[in-house]
Amino acid sequence: METIRLHTNDSFEKVFVNGPEVDLHIVQEAGSRVKIHVINVSGLVPNKAEGSDLQTVSNKITVEQVGEGCRTEIYGLAYIKGEEQVTIETHVTHAVEDGTSTQLVKFVLDDRAKGHFVGDLKISPDAQHVEAHQTNRNLLLSDDAQMRTQPQLEIYADDVQATHGASTGQLDESALFYMQQRGIGKEKARQMLVGAFMKEVIETIDDGQKTKDALLSSEPFKSLFF
């Protein structure tokens, strides 16, 4: 585990693409900002050379807000197939007032892939006026894929805005048919819908566009987003 301490008003941004292992612990002092992406994509071409496979990947991000007015954004994405297994764990603790946090994690699982999301959100009794959101959305492309979702919310302050949502579903059959009725082939339509599902996470990357552009122009993203 790597621990990073962010001093007052520091900023930390990082995009991890195809792990392999991420275990990061960040302590935030007043006014600091964190924006982290963990992205795991099966068969992502630029990473093949590094030999990283996603057989069993674990990404763990732990963030503690110990100073007031901090901002934390954690985004996770996994698009895996075959026998691949990805775990994404996010632990966010608001120990003091006036912080904001976002956890948005999406899995797309094909074949017999397994996804596991553990999402921890703690708001201490002293952490009033916190705004915290946790969302986990998952798309199963095969009957044999498996998703496990474990949200854990511990909210001890009363004057906070906290939302939480988790859902797991399949591709929208009526959207698929609508697209086919316009002449779009079934496979292409599936790709467009998978791309649309993942876009919400990818669009939040803003490291001067470099990582985003590299991602979008490599397979399999290239065929998902034109």
Binding site: D172, E173, S174, A175, F177, Y178, M179, Q180, Q181, R182, G183, I184, G185, K186, K188, A189, M192, L193, G195, A196, F197, K199, E200, F226
Partner: protein, 250 residues
């Protein structure tokens, strides 16, 4: 003699084992507008679903030919590329897929099917602009997700806009008038009328006569309990309006 554009012979179809269409026969020639009317549950929407290849329906008997080609053997997307277009009664919202990308995939799939090169980005956008104007659709809808957050009227205009982009030989309008106010109805109907050519045809499925004041049919068919029970000209629609489906003596 020219082959009919659409020929339906003794079509039977069911959903979840329940027979809905019980022997439909219909010939549609190029240049014609046919209205299919009938009470709820008669099988009107089933007919459009079966013609477009919706996977929930099973054809148990009969044949359908589009310009002499066996339509029932084709996948839904191939039927679309061959020129079958359905204006959906309930257009589907597709979050995250922009109208531009959606339409470009559709237009280029059809062009590829016809052995044509894909349209350049510039030509494609010019085509979008031209067709959008016809339906009085706002430019801002271009970058919005397909149908997402569109009003009822915008959704129906968007259907006819897509029809204008794809120039089908057979347009099936499934209850296109439902949920439209009179202005939207006029715009939609004008759009349909302007797209009419001697080479294409429309099948207008409707519960009410109202739409047929704007889109004047050459033939009116009454569908009841899975069969066409009466065929006439536009007078038949007015008669139905007056007497109701109940008053129709087989």
């Amino acid at each position: 003699m020219m082959k009919p554009l659409l020929e339906i012979r003794n079509l039977h179809a069911s959903i979840s084992g329940k027979e809905i269409l019980k022997g439909i026969n219909l010939v549609v020639n190029a240049g014609e507008v046919h209205a299919i009317m009938g009470p709820n549950g008669a099988g009107k929407s089933t007919l459009s679903a079966v013609l477009t290849g919706h996977p929930a329906y099973e054809v148990t008997e009969g044949e359908v030919y589009l310009r002499g080609k066996n339509l029932l053997e084709m996948d839904p997307e191939v039927r679309a590329r061959e020129g079958v277009f359905l204006s959906f009664q309930y257009p589907v919202e597709i979050p995250g897929v922009s109208m531009v990308n959606f339409m470009r995939a559709a237009v280029n799939a059809k062009r590829a099917h016809e052995g044509k090169e894909p349209l350049s980005g510039r030509d494609f956008l010019a085509l979008m602009r031209e067709k959008r104007k016809m339906l009085e659709l706002a430019d801002k809808l271009n970058n919005r997700s397909v149908n997402e957050g569109f009003s009822g009227g915008e959704k129906k205009k968007n259907e006819i806009f897509q029809m204008a982009m794809l120039e089908p030989c057979l347009a099936i309008l499934d209850e296109t008038d439902s949920g439209l106010d009179i202005d939207a109805l006029r715009i939609v109907a004008e759009g349909v009328n302007r797209l009419k050519t001697p080479e294409n045809a429309s099948l207008v499925i409707t519960h009410y006569q109202r739409l047929l004041d704007y889109i004047v049919p050459d033939f009116v068919h009454v569908l009841a309990d899975g069969k066409i029970v009466k065929t006439g000209d536009k007078q038949l629609a007015l008669e139905l309006e007056e007497k109701g489906y109940e008053g129709l003596a087989g």
